[in-house]
């Protein structure tokens, strides 16, 4: 499904990803953990095609598509979805209108007949209900004045509507209380499917109690320095990331 090889990327000439390798098979859930500033969000931005994030070496393919050769919108239509760590507020563009345009673009790309406004509204209402967002949020400006938790749930709502094949959740749990966390996790779990894969970026092991990962990776200083199964997350929770100091990266790669 997703294959990342030796990915190197920089922002404003600062090298952030320093040779990252990752392979994700259909249906798998991979958790990526790591200290602040490790490059976790950068990985999401690079994969989704954010301007200003320059890939200097390596490759990333999604299915048969060379992601790095595509525009951001093409990547999305090819099935990639990034739930933002900090969702953007867009006053004046309603959530509903935005999602209709997004879903239209996906369907058009697949050569399908577009949904009518009424059909779409029905789907959007359902998605809102699933993540406990009041329906009036569809009418409001995208993320405009939403609380932190509402923004995160709105991201999941969008994911439910777009039905991506690869979902990257960037700290979708941060700032959530336990109930909101469960809502987000249930939203994600409802989408687990043998054909759909997830990258769950998180700081805390807590989320992984609800979204069970197949693999856990530790990202540090732009590389994956350790990989393991779900038990690795527990270890990290207990030990923190201090052990990464002076960690011999070469050895980890081996």
């Amino acid at each position: 499904m997703l294959e990342i090889k030796n990915l190197q990327a920089s922002v404003e000439d600062k090298e952030i990803l320093k040779g990252l390798n990752l392979e994700i098979k259909p249906g798998e859930v991979h958790a990526i953990m790591g200290p602040n500033g490790a490059g976790k969000s950068t990985l999401g931005y690079v994969l989704s095609g954010r301007e200003g994030y320059e890939v200097t070496d390596g490759s990333a393919t999604l299915g048969n598509d060379d992601l790095l050769d595509m525009e951001a919108e093409e990547r999305a239509r090819a099935g990639l979805f990034l739930a933002f760590q900090y969702p953007v507020e867009i006053p004046g563009v309603s959530n509903l209108e935005f999602m209709k345009a997004a879903v239209d673009a996906h369907m058009e790309a697949r050569g399908e007949e577009l949904m009518s406004s009424a059909e779409f509204l029905k789907a959007a209402k359902l998605a809102c209900k699933q993540v406990n967002l009041p329906l009036e949020f569809l009418k409001r400006g995208v993320n405009e004045g939403f609380s932190g938790g509402e923004k995160k749930r709105n991201e999941i709502m969008q994911m439910l509507l777009l039905k991506p094949s690869l979902c990257i959740l960037d700290e979708s749990d941060s700032g959530l209380d336990i109930d909101a966390l469960k809502v987000v996790a249930e939203g994600v779990n409802s989408q687990r499917d043998p054909k759909r894969s997830f990258i769950v970026v998180t700081h805390y092991q807590r989320l992984l109690d609800y979204i069970k990962p197949d693999y856990v990776h530790v990202l540090s200083d732009g590389k994956i320095v350790k990989s393991g199964d779900a038990s690795l997350a527990k270890e990290l929770e207990a030990e923190g990331y201090a052990w990464l100091e002076g960690y011999d990266v070469e050895e980890a790669d081996a």
Binding site: S48, G49, R50, E51, E71, A72, E73, R75, A76, R77, F81, L82, F84, P87, V88, E89, I90, P91, G92, V93, E97, F98, M99, A101, A102, A105, H106, A109, G141, V142, Q158, L162
Partner: protein, 418 residues
Amino acid sequence: MSAYLANAIEQGQLVNDWLTPKRLGSMALLQQTSWPTRKTESWKYTSVRSLEKKTFERGTTNDEHAFSSIAGLDAIELVFVNGVLQQLPEGLPAGLSIASLENVPESTQVWAREQFNVAKPSQHLFGLVNDVLADNGVIVDVAEGVTIDTPIHLVNLVSENNETQQRVIVRVGQNAKVTMIEHNTGSVESLVNHVAEYFVEESAELELYRFSFRTEKALTVSGAHVQLAKKAKLNATIVGFGSELSRMDLDVLHRGENAFAKINAIYLLAKGEHFDLHSTIEHEIGHCVTDETVRGIVGEKATAVFNGRIHIHRDAQKTLAELNNKNLLLTDDAKINTKPELEIYADDVRCAHGATVAELDKSALYYMTSRGVSRDTALVMLNFGFINALVDEMPNAVLAEWLRPILKERFVKMNAEL
């Protein structure tokens, strides 16, 4: 002196009615006024040349005009065709009275004459022309303590080669509330001079909408002049399209403490259009608030003029005034002349004033494309969102739902033609 002005003065001398005592003063001023040129400060960026040599007919033809009221909006309709009020509405809610300017009861004449030109400053050239010529319009009176739920919707439809000189006077009594929608449309060669004065008395509220939708050869000069008494509230939304000549003068006078004015103005100018908004906020007294947001999208070869003056008088301590003008220029040859004018004579005030050319929000664009929306579609949505955010703020949701597609369609067309 231009032919237009000479003719206006000549015509004005023939007018004799209940407003004549007030008209005389304006006539004297008008006779001393010269026709604006590019050197005239308040007309620096707007040319009146297209009007200079014109003469139009007034109130003579009563043509058929297609007019459809606002879908879903229950309103008290005042439809003027070439300055002729088609029908004076009947069965008005208790506490609301509306008189046609040509037929004003004596008791109304007394106060209306007294208020005439009290909110409108004398420096506006076409305001003076309106003073001496106005022959149609309405006097609206909302009694103390009454809330009128049904908006009053005034519409001007004008035939080719016609001119209308319209005057509106609105008094919102103490603790009363009313909504006024003033709506000018059309594109044929014609002139509308539409001047309204609003007196919002103590603790009263006025919700005001001004839609200046006259385009192409439909010349428009208009004034909205609002006086706010103690604790009075104004919530105004202005929407302008442009034409060969389209100018609006807005004056808000804070004349009682704790008055509050929220003003949102939008202009959306298609190819080659010109629109000029001159806004003046007078804080004559302390503890008042002004929150003015002006946003415009200027299309190919179009020109927007915005002059935003805030005058905080010496005694107006504790004033809170904010004025922000943002512009989005769709092409390199779109033009905005924006001039903030701040005059502050009191020392204990909070005042912010800014004019900028809007920059594209790159993170919003990325966010949208990351959902699969094409860059072009996202740009149109974002740019429209820039003015739509003010439509979202309109207190009347039905009106907002009516307006949104009108603006959207215009904007999409502007983009398609680029």
